[in-house]
Amino acid sequence: MRDVAVIGIGCTRFGEHWNRSFRDMFVEAGALALEDAKLSGEKIDAMYVGNMSAGRFIEQEHIGALIADYSGMATRHIPATRVEAACASGGLAFRQAVIAVASGMEDIVVAAGVEKMTDVEPGASTDALTGAADREWEGFVGATFPGLYAMIATDYIHKYHMTREQLAQVAVKNHYNGARNPIAQFQQEITLSTVMKSTMVAEPLRLFDCSPITDGAAAVIVAPLDRAREFTDTPIKVLATAQASDSIALHDRRDISTMDATVAAGQRAFKMAKLTHKDINMVEVHDCFSIAEICAIEDLGFCKKGTAGKFTEDGETALGGKIPVNTSGGLKACGHPVGATGIKQVYEIVQQLRGEAGKRQIENAKIGMTHNVGGTGATVAVHILGRV
């Protein structure tokens, strides 16, 4: 296998873009990534695009071809492939691009992610997202996505006695970071009482425990490490790529509040990179709900099971903490355009490793991690990236 590096990154602003289409957004993200790599489109050998549900959100399928066409690649007939794994679509698209280059099959490959979620009514987008869980035996009996994560939270609080305030600190911290990220959907800080007084969605989760509905696109370009300096002075090496699966339905898990797929993907990634959690300077985890960040940092090994609430309350996951988590603002504050999220996580870590993260820069950042979840943990992708 060849070593692989990220040579270019691009991302749209995340938010509710009433005036911008699916096509507008991925073209912008792709153009920014090409510009960043000082690369022209003729050099691109293949594309992978993460997208969960364009069929439901904009009634468009065949997204690989559409993206190739509108980014000017159709006349060169390069392969363009859509990758779908619900909210982990972007992470898997990145992994497929890395594997394509590592194998020697392709040289310069784009990994993108895009989701246009605001062209349908909120009820329709909520229902489309329920397709990430088990439609027959969760969705049809009345489960919503917040409802499933709320059941994880109930189980977790029952077992480990985390306080509601500790859980709320996840959202407070992520909004603090989002306020320092120019692409974030929400760029304002919030207080504990904002979370505690927000509308109850599914007990114990309130509105500010939930990531929003977002439009956005992100793209990164990968190449063989030994060619990376043709394109950039700061190549970022892909130290590990890992993916794991678990049951589609939450009720079939070994333990409701441990994501075994996160544990498996995390362990595989650390083994592949020959690193431990102590080597990681910052991590982007999949905080679709506040409780998801709590479980993720434990299941990846950054703190012991049952202690993430206090760990968060003590500031250990904040910008100056032991392991800064979600410096981008996470899904909560940066926004969650489902298929784009996994690519945006890579975008954030690359910015940190290049020293380009502005007001949220982690000093001396050398190694970073991304963690992207599909559904309630049925698919997980973990990547480790490092400065060369």
Binding site: G123, T126, D127, T130, D134, E136, W137, E138, F140, V141, G142, A143, T144, P146, G147, A150, M151, I152, A153, T154, D155, H158, T199, M200, V201, A202, E203, P204, L205, A249, L250, H251, D252, I256
Partner: protein
């Protein structure tokens, strides 16, 4: 949900009929036609569940999705059936009453209506055991 998609699973949804692997004795609800433990050596037969279980975890859903019959907040839970498997279901009770470890039994209730066709769907919910 189309009529055929719902009708296909009526015995399972109405009567809590799942499956069982006679090779290892493991029960499945929701039903599976392939035993993940025995794989090709598993032999799967239908199994009528007794309809008793215990709440593993739950939530009270405040904002209900379209097409569901429950007015206002409703209790959604994962329950462990006495035969072993876990399933997701609604619990018909005062939301304040629900708690982890509560014993429940199955009942036949309206689940929801199809938004476009107006067809009413029935299925299994659970109530606290008196």
């Amino acid at each position: 949900m189309t009529v055929a998609r719902f009708w296909r699973k009526i015995p399972q949804r109405y009567n809590l009929i799942g499956t069982k692997c006679t090779t290892c004795g493991r029960h499945f609800f929701p039903p599976r036609t392939f035993c993940p433990d025995c794989r090709r050596n598993g032999k799967i037969v239908d199994h009528q569940f007794a309809g008793f279980g215990t709440i593993v975890t739950y939530t009270v859903i405040q904002t209900e999705p379209d097409h569901f019959a429950s007015p206002g907040p409703y209790v959604l839970a994962i329950i462990k059936l006495d035969e072993g498997p876990q399933m997701t279901t609604q619990i018909i009770c005062d939301p304040k009453e629900a708690k982890i470890g509560m014993r429940v039994r199955s009942v036949f209730r309206k689940i929801g209506t199809d938004g476009e066709s107006g067809i009413i769907h029935y299925g299994t919910k659970f109530v606290p055991v008196e």
